[in-house]
Structures are given as C-alpha cells and as structure tokens.
C-alpha cells in the first residue's frame, strides 16, 4: 500500500483539484448563486412573515379578519396588536380597527396561521425587508398587511386552493343549512295552515245537547 509520507495529503489535494476543475465543467460542482443578480427559487411552502387576506378588490370590505384576537393570544413573542372596531353607537364590529404586526419581533413560527379559524392570516414569502427605520418600516399596520386573495394564490397555489375549497365548502354548508331551515319553516307554516283548514267550519262550541223535556217522565 502507499506508505510514502505525504500520500494522504496528496490524495486530499486530488479531491480538491477535482472539485476546482469540476466547477468549470459540471453544473453540480458550481453551487454559488450570484445573488442579487440571480435570486433563489423558493419552494412553495417558504414562509417569512404574516399578511392578511382579503377577497375581491376592496381591501377593507373584503377583509376576512373578524378581530377574534386568537392569533394575538397564541403568538409566542406577542408581536400582534389588535384593536376591535366599534360603530358610532359603541357596539363592537366584526373587523379590526388596528392590526399591527411587529416583524422585528415576529419569529415566523406560523402559529397564528394554524390557529386562525377564519382563514384570514397567512404567511408571505417576501424576504428583502431590511430598512433603516425600526418603527416606520418594521411595524406593519393593517394597510401594509392586507393583500388580495389573488396574490395569495400566486405565491402559495396549493394552500390557496385548499383554503378556497374550505371556504367554498363552508359557504355551501351554510347555504344548505339556511335552505333547510327555510324549508323547515315553510313546512311548519304549511302544516299549520293545513291543520287550520282540516278542522270543519266550527259550529260554535260543541253543541249543548238539546235540553231534555223536563216534563218528560222517565
């Protein structure tokens, strides 16, 4: 066997040389991505920070969030801040007035997405978010967080399709329930009407038996 001193180092250098020359010839040896000219293709599931989904074209009107505050409660580093909206009379509305996420604190754990019952908060995959302004650009308010469902479908197609499927199924179930309720109400009303029609036009209160002739002898 090779017992020449230095043969081990020589074998190592052969490996290094192979890697160096190979990086000119083979694609898989050249693994450096020339960022920022070449950007990595992120897999579909990649997540960075949360955003709020709205349906349709109007962010405020189509917002799915109903300000239930479950995500605020479950967030581990407590980076979500929600204030519920109230109408002129002071009654609580099902929408948030203030929805801030401090993405300098957020740890991208995705727990808010998992616990949201209304499919309204999802993970974005934008990662070039550095700025010089700590509170101006890194505390995202409602306006910056609201992004359309079309955007969500473009970044996470499979997840968006599943979410849309669930929302559609819920809507159909609600419609079916409403229809069933309406049908049941109609049936009850019809039964009531039928009952009223079935009993004969009342001779006033059960006729008292014609008074016996008191004089009739037994």
């Amino acid at each position: 066997m090779m017992n020449i001193p230095g043969s081990g180092i020589f074998k190592g250098m052969v490996v290094t040389a192979r890697n160096m020359v190979g990086s000119y010839l083979l694609k898989e040896r050249l693994t450096t991505e020339q960022y920022p000219e070449e950007r990595p293709t992120l897999p579909e599931n990649a997540r960075s920070f949360p955003f709020l989904v709205y349906d349709g074209t109007d962010p405020e009107a189509g917002m799915r969030c109903v300000s239930c505050k479950i995500c605020e409660k479950e967030c581990p580093p407590q980076c979500i801040y929600i204030v519920q909206d109230r109408d002129a009379a002071g009654k609580a509305l099902k929408r948030p007035k203030v929805f801030n996420i401090d993405i300098a604190v957020c740890m991208s754990c995705q727990i808010c997405v998992e616990v949201c019952p209304f499919e309204s908060i999802r993970m974005d995959n934008a990662y070039e978010l550095s700025s010089y302004d700590r509170f101006g650009s890194l505390v995202l308010d409602k306006a910056k967080l609201l992004k359309s469902n079309a955007y969500y479908q473009s970044i996470h197609p499979t997840e968006a399709a599943e979410t849309d499927g669930r929302i559609e199924a819920d809507r159909l179930k609600k419609e079916a329930a409403a229809a069933a309720k309406a049908a049941a109400a109609q049936k009850a009303a019809a039964e009531k009407a039928a009952k009223a029609a079935a009993t004969p036009a009342e001779p006033a209160a059960p006729a008292t038996p014609a008074p016996q002739n008191p004089e009739a002898s037994a």
């Binding site: 801030n100 401090d102 604190v105 505390v139």
Partner: protein
C-alpha cells in the same frame, strides 16, 4: 422499578429518610424524596450498589407557599345517629425549593430514577448537599440551579454563578422574580414593559 429501588435503599441503608412521591401523570415516573442529611449516602449507594452511574439531569423547581385543598370524610354523631360528613379542608403548604435529579444506569441500560431534595424554606435555609462528588455531571447543573434559584450546594467544588454574571444579585427563575424595566430599549406600542416604565416614572416623578 422505583419501588424495587426504594426497597433496596431501605434494606441497604436502614434509617435513611427516603419516601416515594407519586406522579399522577400517565408516564408514572415516580420520584424518591430524600432527606438532606442522607442524600450523599443514598447517592453513593445508588451509584455503587445499584449501578445508577449516569446523572442525566439536575433541575431546580420553585414551589412558593400555596394552599392545598383536601377533601376528608369524617364521622360525627348527630342526634345519636352516626353520619359521614364530607368536607374540604384547606391547609397551607409552606414554600420550598427543590432540586430534582434524574439518574440512569448505563451499565444495566435502565432508568430513569428521579431523586428530589427539598430545602426547608425559600429564603433563609436554602442549602442542600451537593452530589457533584458522586456524579461529576452535576457540576455545571448545580451551579446553574444555584444561579437561577438560589439553592446553595454544600460540598460543591466551585459554586459560582453560571449563566448570569458574578455580581448579579437576584435569582431569575423564581416565581416571584420581578423582571427589570430600567434598561434602554424601545418596546413596541403595546408592550407591557412600556406600561411598567410609565408607572414607575410616574411614581418617581411624584416622589422627586
């Protein structure tokens, strides 16, 4: 397994204060509460005779004074008739600090055995014997328990703080620890720290 170990300890070291503490969880990892005076002897017995040679984990636990409810049934004669009356008695359990040791046996590939040692109270009598001379792996962990809970381990070769700096005075993992708010940091608008800073500044302003 723990009951067998307990029996062996009682037969090997008669008079040692060791009792079983029940663990209601489904994993049934019951523990042995060892008195402070007998802890070293019990530890050496476990290591040498029963071959528990691997001290895997040393934790501190803080039990502040609490009220424990117990429902008891007592018999009482009312109007000559003996009745059973159920009532809930609440008694105060004084606070203590605890050091919990998890032991495994590498030689016999079994475990865990849980040992507990309790201090007398939480402020004045907080010393426990150190088991570092028995298992060296307890060295840094006992230092950490001293640092974060305040239990003094007698017989430890080098009892200093581990994670906090040496001049630090408090014991952070205790349940009554008040986190400091006199540091320079800009919390976000809804942070609790900001509220406490404002409250403190308000009282200081009044006092000044």
């Amino acid at each position: 397994m723990i009951t067998a170990v307990l029996e062996k300890i009682h037969s090997g070291l008669p008079g040692a204060h060791v009792e079983l503490v029940n663990n209601p969880s489904p994993c049934a990892q019951h523990s042995l509460l060892v008195g402070a005076a007998d802890a070293r002897a019990v530890a050496e017995f476990l290591r040498d005779d029963l071959q528990f040679d691997f001290a895997s984990n040393v934790s501190g636990v803080d039990w502040p004074p609490r009220k424990v409810k117990e429902s008891v049934v007592r018999k009482e004669t009312v109007d000559g008739v003996e009745k059973e009356i159920k009532e809930t008695i609440e008694h105060d359990v004084p606070g203590y600090l605890e050091a919990v040791y998890h032991l495994y046996s590498v030689a016999r590939k079994c475990g865990p055995i849980t040992l507990r040692m309790r201090t007398v109270d939480r402020d004045k009598n907080v010393s426990l014997p150190s088991l570092t001379p028995v298992w060296k792996s307890a060295d840094f962990q006992e230092r950490e328990v001293f640092d974060l809970y305040g239990i003094r381990f007698d017989g430890h070769p080098d009892l200093r703080r581990l994670l906090m700096w040496d001049e630090y005075a408090d014991h952070p993992m205790r349940k009554d620890f008040v986190p400091p708010d006199d540091f320079e940091y800009e919390p976000t608008p809804h942070d609790n720290v900001l509220k406490r800073v404002k409250a403190r500044e308000a009282t200081e302003g009044e006092g000044a």
